[in-house]
């Protein structure tokens, strides 16, 4: 079964702190996506990770991919309130056909 699991599902943190969201998936894939969704909005593309060891950074967010461990992480550095949102990882199990299987989402709340 194709499964994508995120951990934690809910995260409340203080501004200025660091934290990591984990995304585990069940079988081989070399393409992983991270998205952000604000309440009532659509999905905003954050990162596409295409190979083992890939690391991408944008502002306070950094994503990495370990295909051998079937694990991706989204690290938040010195969190600010504007990063409050739901974050989804998604995996393309179809070898490039982009049929994405999504994780459950991590609802992140950053308190001032």
């Amino acid at each position: 079964e194709l499964k994508v699991e995120q951990n934690p599902l809910f995260l409340s943190m203080q501004e200025g702190k660091n934290y990591t969201i984990y995304c585990n998936y069940s079988t081989t894939s070399d393409r992983l996506y991270w998205y952000r969704q604000d309440p009532g909005k659509s999905l905003e593309s954050l990162f596409v990770l295409l190979s083992n060891g890939a690391v991408k950074q944008e502002g306070r967010l950094m994503a990495s991919l370990d295909t051998k461990a079937r694990l991706s992480t989204l690290h938040i550095t010195a969190a600010v309130h504007d990063l409050s949102a739901t974050y989804f990882c998604a995996v393309d199990f179809a070898q490039g056909a982009q049929k994405l299987v999504f994780g459950q989402g991590t609802r992140l709340t950053i308190n001032p």
Binding site: S42, S45, L50, A90, Q98, L100, F102
Partner: protein
């Protein structure tokens, strides 16, 4: 990136009726997809809209319930047929960009069935 629009943005429909959702992209794309996001849940792929051939449906979704059209490389429609309250969801189209391997999502259509 691709700019994607959907119509309608939201609708409230009666049980037993059908609704057709339109998805328009500002550039030609090979692959278009339709997803469903039930309230407070994650996204589930309904089908891949193929230009010039029938859509490819994922497990649990059938053509009679969710007929899809893809008349050209910039446009697709999804119809939700014989609706029930369980169909209340956000329906999103997305497109693949071969140049960057990114997949972009439209703004979504929020459907409520009463």
């Amino acid at each position: 990136s691709a700019v994607i629009s959907q119509k309608p943005s939201r609708d409230i429909c009666q049980r037993g009726t059908s609704l057709t959702i339109q998805c328009q992209v500002d550039s030609q794309v090979t692959m278009m997809f339709w997803y469903r996001q039930q309230p407070g849940q994650s996204l589930t792929l309904i089908a891949t809209a193929n230009q010039g051939s029938e859509a490819t449906y994922e497990s649990g979704f059938v053509i009679d319930k969710f007929p899809i059209s893809r008349p050209n490389l910039t446009f697709s429609t999804l119809t939700v047929s014989n609706m029930s309250p369980e169909d209340s969801s956000i329906y999103l189209c997305s497109v693949e960009t071969l140049s960057s391997y990114e997949q972009y999502f439209g703004p979504g259509t929020r459907l409520t069935v009463t």
